[in-house]
Amino acid sequence: MTAAVTATARIHARPDGRGGTALPVLAGEGPLAPRRTRGTAGEASVVLVGAMSGPLGGDRLRVETEVAEGARLRVGSAAATLALPGRHQDEARYDVRLTVADGGELRWLPEQLISAGGSDLYVTTRADLAARARLVLREEQVLGRTGEEPGRLTSRLTVRIAGRCVLDQELSCGPGAPGGWDGPAVLAGHRAVGQIVVVRPEFAPHPPAARVCPAGAAVLPLAGPAVLLTAVAPDALQLRRALDEALAALG
């Protein structure tokens, strides 16, 4: 019997003094392996490689990312994350903690999280930003592999800007979730749900207008210099298309 895994990955980004971004800390553990890849001028790029399948029941995974003043970082993942049932009965945890200082920029763009049948995962994502930090944060959830009933998935997303909470949302779905999660008020049978949070200081004087894009994503200006793009879709591909369209329309 395999033991449940407790692992933390850490990524720290700071300016390298030559107009680029250095990564003084890039540390993986267990199934979490961050790898530096080719970035662009000024922006460092990291890909999280899942060295093992996971998270399984009982696992405790955590990713901590800090972007210092003036640094720019993009984090993606090599593949979708698959939540699977484990031999341990208790839920798995996946905690993401993101910190961005003034003038720093983080683009957090992982691939989908797939909730496989029988899995039980609680994900928390918390972004703490300084007043003049920039963020693009995507999270996409796919409920079940093709033709499969989903597992239990609860996901909480919290965004703070200058200490003030501008977004705090939790979505619970799958067997055992509070009633109505698949009904006409929440998901209405859609199997892919996702959002992108965009934080830009210039949204404070000039927030984008609220609207629903043609492919179905809503553009929701929050009570702060941030916008939430949110969509539900039949599958991961259509969800990505809807979110990409809304993001591109922000300019």
Binding site: R156, T158, R164, C165, V166, L167, D168, Q169, E170, L171, S172, P178, G179, G180, W181, D182, G183, P184, A185, V186, L187, A188, V193, Q195, A210, R211, V212, G216, A217, A218, V219, L220, P221, L222, A223, L228, T230, A231, V232
Partner: protein
Amino acid sequence: MSRAALLVLADGRFPAGGHAHSGGAEAAVRAGRITGAGELAEFCRGRLHTTGLVSAALAASAALGMDPAGLDAAADARTPSPALRGAARRLGRQLLRAARATWPSAELDALARDFPKGAHQPVVLGLAARAAGLGAADAAYCSAYESVGGAASATVRLLSLDPLDATGVLARLAPEVDLVVDRAVAAAREALAEGPETLPGASAPLLEILAETHAASPARLFAS
């Protein structure tokens, strides 16, 4: 506390403007997602456990005497749709006017002074309950029940649904309303000790998306 005061506050005839809102039911009917009592029940159940829980916890927290400004900010963070934030503040302003006339209190006066454009309705509801001598569970019951009652009565008008069917939906949800109130009051007590950030944030993506579709729709019967 006076149990009759709870009936006054929870009465659909209390002049707080709720009848002009459908709780997202009109948009769901127009999208073809509510066509009868079965779908209405699932719609209401989803509302109850998401925005209903959040509203009930906010109302219970305000009834316990937490700072309304902190609760109002917590409500903003849990309501990403600007159309729904606007509707919540308009409803809050109307409820505050009615509550101040019914149960005059310094706290309600201060709320009106601090939020000239209206505070989120559940926050006002909690303070109104407090002014009426009611407790946290009373406020949570008003809020949780209202989160489904408005949608049910709107659907009667929108679909010409049999009112008996709509009332049946609400009656069958009663045990879940009890559960949501228990969770809301427990969350409010925790928030009283730990701060408003521990309040529940249960969300319903389609309610948020459809609220924006609805706000942009030129021909609508209900404001939200």
